[in-house]
């Protein structure tokens, strides 16, 4: 290093060979460069603080536009069940209940399938099934065929990720024309035969909670399966081997060893999915039915906070807009709460698992 530096300062002393080293940059910075360095560094620092400030600014500006409505309607806004702008009666309890109900239902379906996919991809079900098939066909040892299981697994992973890339408004459109007609016959059957169960207490008249939840499930599924898969692949191999070594069947090992060990990651995935489901708008605005009804029935039309905002806003007068801003503030509060609580639980669960690793 020092010889290069010498060469730079005294090229003649070391001979012309080192002259090539002299370039624009191998020298002490000039004053202008030092000043511009200072300016650039301060600029990035200011921008970084701007990002932090932005979060507060978002919260404050939503709260500011909601304030007049908060003063007008008070807390009865949260507990009242009618939304009638003409009579000035505005309440969002059905929307709050609908938000929770649809999110939990969608999360339940999405978690079941997401976890199944995560297990399917991380526990080598697919490669074993393909291996068995190829063994039966007698091609398992050929170079081309031996690479097929890994390739198919890769394709499956990318395909599941593509589910997340499709815009939610397209899922909404698809839900209207595919999901609702598809689930109407079984929904009618359930209503006719099991209508005494509150869950199936109303018929499905087009849009409703259940089709909306199915689409929500599809939208949270990629998140849940990707993070759970990472958590399951991170289970130490020695625990895997120990479980099979004492003679556990595959599912005894999965249920008693792998899932408990990966529980933190799986739980984190589900919380993230919950946060996404709570704020999802378009699929619910198009599929939930936009009706302020509180019902146990999964086939009843319903409303959610986000769907209420999207449906009412375009034709709202200024007083109704104020009330909608109040609803937005409530939604912001709920999603922030879920995200913060989820993060805290995750941190605690992480700390308690440290000894295992």
């Amino acid at each position: 290093m020092s010889s290069t530096a010498d060469a730079t300062h005294h090229p003649a002393a070391k001979g012309p060979v080192f002259a090539a080293v002299e370039s624009d940059i191998s020298r002490a910075p000039t004053a202008i460069e030092l000043v511009s360095d200072r300016i650039f560094r301060s600029a990035t620092r200011i921008i970084a603080w701007l990002c932090v400030f932005l979060v507060f600014y978002v919260v404050v500006s939503i709260a500011r536009v909601a304030m007049p409505a908060v003063h007008t309607y008070g807390t009865s806004f949260l507990t009242s069940t009618t939304w009638d702008a003409n009579r000035g009666q505005l309440g969002i309890l059905p929307a709050i209940v609908g938000t929770m109900y649809s999110s939990l239902l969608g999360l339940f379906i999405g978690s079941a399938f997401g976890l199944a996919i995560a297990l399917f991809l991380s526990e080598g079900f697919l490669s074993q099934a393909l291996d068995a098939l190829m063994e039966w066909m007698g091609v398992a040892q050929r170079p081309f065929w031996a690479a097929v299981p890994a390739y198919v697994e890769d394709v499956l992973k990318v395909t599941i990720e593509l589910l997340a890339a499709i815009p939610s408004v397209v899922y909404g459109l698809w839900g209207i024309f595919v999901i609702i007609p598809l689930i109407r016959p079984p929904a009618d059957w359930l209503y006719n035969h099991l209508g005494w169960i509150p869950l199936f207490g109303t018929p499905l008249s087009g849009p409703g909670l259940f089709p909306a939840s199915v689409v929500l499930a599809i939208m949270v599924l990629p998140t849940i399966s990707a993070i759970s898969r990472d958590a399951l692949s991170a289970v130490p191999p020695k625990m895997r081997e120990a479980a099979f070594g004492i003679g556990a069947t595959r599912w005894e090992a999965i249920l008693a060893i792998f899932i408990p060990t990966a529980a933190t990651g799986i739980f984190g995935a589900i919380i993230l999915g919950f946060g996404r489901a709570l704020g999802e708008t378009m699929a619910l605005a198009m599929l939930a039915g936009n009706a302020n009804v509180i019902s146990w029935s999964v086939f009843s039309p319903a409303n959610t906070l986000a769907a209420l905002l999207a449906n009412k806003f375009p034709e709202a007068d200024s007083r109704e807009v104020g009330a909608l801003m109040y609803a937005a503030l409530v939604l912001l509060g709920i999603t922030l709460l879920v995200n913060v609580v989820g993060t805290l639980i995750l941190q605690r669960a992480d700390a308690s698992l440290k000894g295992l690793r």
């Binding site: 910075p29 511009s36 932090v52």
Partner: protein, 311 residues
């Protein structure tokens, strides 16, 4: 079960009981669960296949050159297209990219290069994670409160602010990861040559991390292009072109930008609830065009990411 004859079997162990047999409840349970898992995975692929099938099946019905060049049709008419919505989506997303990319990359540079261990960096990371969890409709409410109320009307820039807020955390966090992967020895070499920190960043770190940064930008763009909810609060919709009069009427373009602007996502939403066949068919066409745009950008981003990882 055939035991090897030369191995002694310890007393009290019944080898039969260790054999895999579907007649045993625990083996049967394991087998049934495995099959169910496989079926669940196949069932989860149904939505994607079905969405793509419907898009091709229904979306191609009114797909023609007119779909790209004409204005949205009135009810019960033939023809018409989503030309202004395509232009609107591109304009809004481009404006959002112009706003969010410099902010995201500069903040990422600060938290990785200039102050990685500072409170600022921790606060920025936390802020980015909070913004990741922000529902998209609230980004729309924010832009409504800040831009629409201030400027007095729905406009493309308002939509761009909402989308930029949604793009920022993705760009910031992927840029951070990409910059972290630049080998330290490259920075050290640059410092040894007498480069200032700014020169290290601009001539070594950012060029090296560029493919990774671009991946993040592309994923963010793909997500933003499909967002509908924030646009309902900001850009709304328009049945007209932004403006086709070019540079000599620059003030007119700027004036038109400050009016409600059409977008593909919103036209899908508006026409999906329409009772008229021609508008529903056009909603599917718009959805097909939007999904193709989004998938191209998304796949390009992922290919870029994979190529970078291999390097």
């Amino acid at each position: 079960m055939a035991t090897p004859a030369n191995l002694p079997v310890p007393d009290g162990i019944d080898l039969e009981s260790l054999e895999f047999s579907l007649r045993r409840p625990r083996s049967l349970f394991s087998y049934v669960m495995s099959v169910l898992t496989g079926l669940a995975t196949i069932a989860a692929l149904f939505p994607l296949v079905s969405v793509l099938y419907m898009l091709v099946e229904k979306g191609t019905q009114s797909l023609s050159m007119g779909a790209f060049t004409q204005l949205p049709p009135a009810a019960m008419t033939t023809g018409g297209g989503v030309g202004n919505a395509i232009v609107g989506t591109i304009v809004i997303v481009a404006l959002a990219t112009i706003i969010s990319v410099p902010v995201g990359i500069l903040a990422a540079i600060y938290i990785t290069e200039f102050g990685p261990e500072t409170y600022t960096a921790a606060a920025v990371r936390f802020a980015a994670k909070v913004l990741t969890g922000l529902p998209s409709i609230l980004a729309g409410v924010f832009a409504f409160a800040v831009v629409v109320v201030a400027t007095g009307g729905f406009s493309a820039p308002a939509g761009a602010v909402a989308l930029a807020l949604l793009m920022l955390p993705t760009i910031l966090l992927t840029a951070e990861e990409a910059i972290k992967r630049v080998p330290p020895r490259m920075r050290e070499a640059a410092v040894g040559m007498g480069a200032t920190p700014t020169q290290v960043v601009s001539k070594v770190v950012v060029p090296t991390a560029l493919p990774g940064i671009l991946t993040g930008v592309m994923l963010a763009v793909a997500r933003a292009a499909g967002e509908t909810a924030p646009l309902l609060f900001t850009a709304l919709f328009s049945d007209f072109w932004i403006s086709r009069t070019f540079p000599q009427f620059l003030p007119k373009i700027l004036g038109d930008l400050m009016k409600p602007t059409a977008s593909l996502a919103v036209i899908i939403y508006n026409f999906s609830g329409s009772p008229f066949e021609n508008q529903i068919a056009l909603a599917w066409t718009a959805a097909l065009i939007l999904v193709i745009l989004v998938l191209i950008v998304n796949v390009a981003g992922q290919v870029l990411a994979r190529r970078t990882a291999n390097r």
